[in-house]
């Protein structure tokens, strides 16, 4: 049983928010590069009937950056532990887990470790491996990823925040830090770089078959990060997986087509 103290520390560390009126809990887990605000277009549709839990991964959004440990979070296991910690701290059971992008894989890993916390997983744009491999098309070559990392290095939050410190020098500029915490998608650049590496370098194909909790793959049309073939791979290799292809295009259907996304999630939750 978790003590109040542990619970409070987890809630603070991951900026956990609990809203809504139902008994059934839906835990929304944001993807790489964002924070819980990414769900702002969809959560209102659920708060009347469900208890909605939102959080930021350690190092992201308004989490406690001081608790970020580069070693722990150099593997997806570190982020998986964040999910399990939250479930334990809030004494959650049989929840619906909705994960976007890398979070869908993190959700699978958490559900393999502690199936009792979960009743259903919704995987939005999942990819167990981004790099192409033998007999597998992830969609990316190593050089594409290097391109992204380089891009993030020089352009993480825009020209002035990326170039100015480089040109002026790494002087103490508190106003930059303020900008970071006040802006969405504004994880500390070092954390973002680490998160990008762990996200895009991971290979979790072998984990899919270990999942015992039932799941839904929400596949976008025309998603460069998680192409249709990858979604189909997940569906094929994950026991108990349903597959729905959305009309929504791009990688963020919960942002670009919230209504379609909401109805897909809702109808899956309501199925028996």
């Amino acid at each position: 049983m978790s003590s109040t103290l542990v619970m409070e520390s987890i809630i603070k560390r991951n900026n956990v928010k609990v809203i809504g009126n139902g008994d059934q809990v839906i835990l929304f887990a944001h993807g790489f590069g964002c924070d819980q605000n990414a769900w702002k277009f969809v959560i209102n549709a659920f708060t009347d009937d469900y208890k909605v839990v939102l959080f930021d991964y350690t190092g992201s959004g308004r989490s406690d950056i001081l608790q970020y440990n580069a070693v722990k979070y150099s593997k997806l296991d570190g982020y998986t532990q964040d999910i399990l910690d939250i479930c334990e701290a809030l004494e959650l059971k049989d929840i619906v887990f909705v994960g976007h992008s890398v979070s869908s894989i993190i959700g699978i890993l958490a559900a393999i470790q502690h199936p009792k916390y979960f009743s259903k997983l919704v995987l939005i744009g999942p990819s167990p491996r981004y790099l192409n491999a033998e007999n597998y098309t992830g969609g990316f070559e190593q050089q594409d990823l290097e391109g992204l990392f380089e891009f993030m290095e020089s352009n993480y939050l825009g020209w002035s925040s990326a170039m100015a410190p480089v040109i002026i020098g790494n002087s103490d500029r508190p106003e930059l830090g303020e900008f970071l915490t006040s802006s969405f998608c504004s994880t500390n650049p070092d954390v973002a770089r680490d998160f990008a590496r762990v996200t895009f370098m991971s290979d979790n194909r072998a984990d899919l078959s270990k999942l015992t909790v039932s799941s839904l793959t929400l596949q976008c049309s025309d998603d460069i990060l998680a192409p249709l073939t990858v979604g189909e791979y997940v569906h094929l290799h994950t026991p108990g997986n349903k597959f729905v292809q959305l009309a929504a295009t791009g990688h963020c259907p919960h942002i670009s087509e919230p209504e379609e996304t909401i109805s897909a999630i809702r109808s899956y939750i309501q199925q028996n």
Binding site: F140, G147, F151, G158, M163, C185, I224, G250
Partner: protein, 488 residues
């Protein structure tokens, strides 16, 4: 009203000096202006309805999907993201991207409006800036290297006097790290007698901005005070603004010590000269009273004494002249064949007459090429020293030895000996073995002159001594001076 006639909004949109386009919630281009089409080299129908991210590199697309899109929608806008857009001909167009999201009443995303600015030139400047930044960093490192290499302490201070940089020498000298630059720390390293004047003068310079120069004693890590010349000047930039004090601290301890020795020497020399002059003055007064009557029975004695004093003065002046000649490098040798045994024999014969010492000469006849007068000066000095400093020694031995390469002359006394710590300094200028100067008079120049003469002959000179048993002063003269100076 007139303005409306001139400014056509549609034309402004199409021909604006920046690229405009709008994206549907799914990321497709729904409107794009002529400027942007012109930049990219596409026709309207080639891009309309297409994904904008298709114009980016793969890394750019990923960034666009994971950062731009959520940020634009959730934050309702994006500022100054730098992307590289691919033109139709494959050339890269660097752009800055600003965007704002258009939402309906229910906060649903309707469209994202984007402004692109061509930053090709700016990118070039950025590169130049980075390059010049690197250059200046390199320059700074070079200066740092130089500053750490010089043997002086180098430092800078803010216009109000706080030391903000010190070189490696500072850290070595005081055995501290570069952060120990507080005024209190530095002051603790200054000799207590110098602190007050230093603080006062430094404050005055800070107020006046005048260059600063002061001699102070600084304590090193071994706890020894050494004299330093502290200099500082205020550096003004091109606009004449105060920037920094630049300062150095040169170790002038040796110089200061030399000056001190010189002062002491002048003091000694004056006294040495004064004694015979005073005697001479008295003798002349006595002679003067005789009114030219040289038949007075006292006259010969007085004249003889006067002569001795004049000789003494002459000797002293000769020594002084020799010393200053060596100092200026003016010593000229008048070399001839010299039979050392004969030279020693003659000299010894000359002093044997009026001395109670037994002087024993040993060894065979050796002929060298040397300046006879100067070698005699050396012999005279060494033998006189033996007599003077070893008064109880009844025997003084002069031994002449011949080796393959050089002749060795040793002057051996049976006096009290010389303490080991004094041995290495015997041949220094202005050095006197004993400070109890009343017992032994002289300028202390003798051994220095000997050393200079022997060096000039490319020989070596030295001394060894055992306390209570006696001392040996020796020198060598090479037979072939051009290959000399490598003997033991």
């Amino acid at each position: 009203m007139e303005g409306q006639a001139i400014i056509d909004l549609e034309e402004l949109y199409q021909q604006a000096p920046c690229g405009y386009f709008s994206l549907s919630p799914s990321g497709n281009i729904i409107k794009i202006n002529q400027t942007l089409l012109g930049w990219l080299g596409y026709e309207l129908n080639e891009l309309h309805g297409k994904k904008f991210s298709g114009l980016l590199s793969k890394g750019g697309q990923m960034h666009f999907e994971m950062f731009f899109w959520p940020m634009a929608a959730v934050n309702r806008g994006v500022r100054e993201l730098s992307y590289e857009v691919l033109k139709k001909d494959g050339v890269i167009l660097p752009v800055l991207l600003n965007a704002s999201a258009k939402l309906d009443e229910a906060n649903r995303l309707l469209a994202i409006n984007v402004v692109l600015t061509d930053i090709t030139e700016r990118k070039t400047f950025e590169k130049e800036l980075l390059l010049s930044k690197k250059t200046s960093e390199r320059e700074q490192k070079r200066l740092q290297f130089m500053a750490d290499l010089v043997p002086e302490i180098i430092w800078t201070a803010t216009p109000d006097g706080y030391v903000d940089y010190v070189n490696a020498r500072f850290c070595q000298y005081f055995d501290c790290n570069g952060q120990d630059t507080r005024v209190s720390f530095i002051m603790s390293k200054v000799h207590p007698d110098d602190r007050r004047a230093l603080s006062r003068d430094w404050r005055e310079s800070l107020i006046s901005g005048e260059s600063f120069e002061k001699r102070i004693r600084l304590i090193d890590k071994a706890g020894i005070y050494e004299w330093h010349l502290l200099k500082a000047a205020l550096f003004l930039d091109e606009e004449g603004n105060l920037t920094n004090w630049f300062g150095s601290c040169a170790n002038i301890n040796e110089h200061v010590q030399d000056m001190k020795k010189k002062d002491e020497f002048i003091n000694i020399a004056s006294h040495e000269l004064k004694t015979p002059i005073t005697s001479l003055k008295a003798l002349l007064q006595l002679l003067d009273r005789m009114k030219g009557d040289l038949t007075n029975k006292m006259a010969p004695g007085l004249i003889e004494k006067s002569n001795r004093n004049v000789n003494r003065i002459s000797e002293l002046v000769t020594d002084l002249l020799s010393a200053s000649q060596f100092n200026d490098g003016q010593l000229r040798l008048n070399k001839t064949e010299v039979n050392l045994a004969e030279l020693i024999g003659d000299y010894v014969h000359h002093i044997r007459i009026d001395q109670k010492y037994e002087i024993i000469t040993e060894g065979e006849g050796v002929t060298v090429i040397a300046d006879e007068g100067r070698i005699e000066q050396v012999l005279s000095n060494l033998i006189t020293n033996a007599i003077k400093y070893a008064p109880e020694s009844n025997v003084i031995r002069i031994r002449l030895t011949r080796t393959l390469e050089f002749a060795l002359v040793e002057i051996i006394d049976e006096g009290p000996g010389i303490t080991p710590e004094k041995l290495p300094h015997l041949f220094d200028r202005y050095y006197q073995v004993s400070n109890t100067g009343s017992l032994y008079s002289g300028l202390g120049l003798g051994l220095y002159i000997c050393a200079e003469i022997i060096k000039k002959h490319r020989g070596e000179i030295g001394a060894k001594s055992v306390l209570g048993e006696g001392s040996t002063f020796w020198f060598t003269l090479p037979f072939n001076p051009s290959i000399a100076r490598r003997q033991s």
